[in-house]
C-alpha cells in the first residue's frame, strides 16, 4: 500500500483517527480553519457522510438490519462514493484533503465485529494510505466519560449492542470501545500513526498537530492562485444592477 505522495498525486491527505470522544473532530476542525485562513486549498470529508448511501445506512441502523458483513460493506460503499467523487479528484487537483476517520476506522470496527482482517483490508485496497495520520490517543476512561457525559442516549450500533457484549448499553459501549482501542494500538506502528496525547488541553494538541504538519509538508504548494474574494464582493454591488436597462 502506498501513500498519495508515493503515487505522485499533487495533493496530500491528512486523516485523523481515534475513539469517539477522543477530541479528534475538534482538532481537525481547528486544523481546517488554520489551513483555510492561510489561504490554502482545503477540503474536509467526514466518515459516513455520502448523500447517496446515507439513506440506506440510517435505515439499516434504525431498523437494526445490519450484520457485521453488511455493516462493513455499506460503510465501504459510503467511503467509495466519497473517494471516487470527492477525495481522488481533489487530490488530483492539488488539494489538502482532511478526513475525519479514514480506512483505519473500518479496519478497527469491522474486525472487532468479527469480519476477517484480510477481507476488510482487501475491500479498501483501492484507497491509498494517508500522507499523514494523526491518532488521538486518550485514556479509555477519558473518552468514555466525554461521550457518556454529553449524550446519555447511546445508539444501538454505536454502543456495539449487535455484538451482544452486554445487555447494558453503557457496559457494551465500554467493552466495544476498549476493543477498538486495542485494534488502533496494534495498527499504530504498521501505518505510521502520529500519536497525539489527547489527554492534553485542546490548544496544546493543536500546536503539536500544526508543528508536525509544518515539518512534513511544504504548505506553500497548496496555496490558492489568488486569495478568495471577500464575501462582500461575491455579489455585484446593487448600484450596478440598477444600471441594467429595463425593457
Amino acid at each position: 500500500m502506498k501513500t498519495f505522495a508515493e503515487l505522485n498525486f499533487p495533493g496530500r491527505l491528512i486523516a485523523v483517527e481515534g475513539l469517539d470522544g477522543s477530541g479528534k473532530s475538534t482538532q481537525i476542525y481547528l486544523l481546517k480553519r488554520w489551513l483555510e485562513l492561510e489561504g490554502l486549498k482545503v477540503y474536509f470529508s467526514e466518515w459516513n457522510s455520502s448523500e447517496l448511501v446515507k439513506a440506506a445506512t440510517s435505515k439499516g441502523k434504525k431498523r437494526e438490519l445490519l450484520t457485521p458483513t453488511t455493516f462493513s460493506l455499506i460503510h465501504a460503499t459510503d467511503f467509495a462514493d466519497r473517494y471516487e467523487r470527492h477525495l481522488a479528484p481533489l487530490l488530483r487537483a492539488g488539494y489538502l484533503v482532511l478526513c475525519d476517520r479514514y480506512i483505519f476506522t473500518a479496519f478497527g470496527r469491522d474486525v472487532v465485529r468479527g469480519c476477517p482482517p484480510e477481507w476488510v483490508r482487501g475491500i479498501y485496497s483501492f484507497a491509498p494510505l494517508p500522507d499523514l495520520t494523526f491518532f488521538f490517543k486518550a485514556d479509555l476512561e477519558v473518552s468514555l466519560q466525554r461521550i457518556l457525559d454529553g449524550r446519555p442516549q447511546l445508539k444501538y450500533f454505536e454502543a456495539g449492542m449487535d455484538l451482544r457484549l452486554s445487555q447494558d448499553p453503557y457496559e457494551s459501549f465500554r467493552i466495544f470501545q476498549g476493543r477498538i482501542l486495542e485494534q488502533y494500538l496494534a495498527m499504530s506502528t504498521e501505518f505510521n500513526f502520529l500519536v497525539i496525547d489527547a489527554n492534553q488541553q485542546v490548544e496544546k494538541q493543536q500546536s503539536v498537530v500544526r508543528e508536525l504538519i509544518t515539518q512534513r509538508l511544504d504548505l506553500d504548494q497548496f496555496r490558492r492562485a489568488e486569495p478568495p474574494a471577500p464575501l462582500s464582493l461575491a455579489e455585484p454591488p446593487k448600484r450596478l444592477k440598477r444600471e441594467v436597462p429595463v425593457e
Binding site: A56, G60, T67
Partner: protein
Amino acid sequence: MKSPDRNHIVVPRPTERRYYGHGIPGVDVVQLAGKLIAVEGADGSGRSTQIAKLVEWLEGCGHATVQVGLKRSTLVSEELEQAQQGNILSRTTLSLFYATDFADQLENIILPALKAGFIVLADRYIYTLMARDMVRGMDEAWLKNIYGIAPEPDAVFYLKVPPGELVQRTFAKNAALDYWESGMDIGLSRDMFDSFMKYQTAMEKTFRHLQRIYGFTIVDGMRSTDAINAELRKQISGVLAGKQALDGQ
C-alpha cells in the same frame, strides 16, 4: 400417469459445501443443508421463465423453494435503484452497493433457507456481479475477495444466447434497450445498439473466463423453453441425488 411415483418424494442427499473465501462470520458452512442453484445469463436469455418453471416442478415434487435475485434486498435495493436512475455512481461505489445488496440477501434469505433445508433458486448470483465489474475494468482479485462471503452453489447454469439474438428478444418485449444492459456507462459507443452488442460480447467473453474458474454449466439458450427446461431438470435431479452438476460446452 405414473401412479407408483405419485406420492414418492425424493429426499435430497447431502453434499459437501464450502464458501468461496472466508464466508460469513459465525455461520458454519456445514449447517447449510439445502441446495443452492444459480441461473445466470443476460436479460432476454430466458432466466426468469426457466426459474418459474423450475419452481413449479420442484414444488410439485415436494421441495420447499425460495427465490433470490439481484437488487431485491430490504437494506439497499431502493437506494441502489435511485442511484442508478441518476447515473451518478462511480464504478467502485456501484460495485460495493451491489455487494451490500447481495450480502443482505445472503444473510437474511439464502443462508436461513439453506439451513432450513430449502432449495434456493438464485436468479443470477455473484458471477453476473463479478462479470459486470470486470468488464468495467475492476480488479478480479479484489472482487474474489469480496465475494468470498458466498457459499458455492450446488449447480450454476449459464444460459448462453448470442448478443444478436438477445437484441431481437429485447426489442420484441420492450422496443428499447436498457442503459445498463447496453453498457452505456462505459462509453463503448455513443450508438446504443452498437454499445449493446459490444457490451454483451464482452460479458459473454468474461463469463467464459469465469466458467473456467468456477466450472459452471453452460446451457444452449437458443433451444425451445421446454427443451432447456428438460435439460435443467435432468441436471437438478442429479444434484438432488447427490451428484455434481456436469460442465456443459
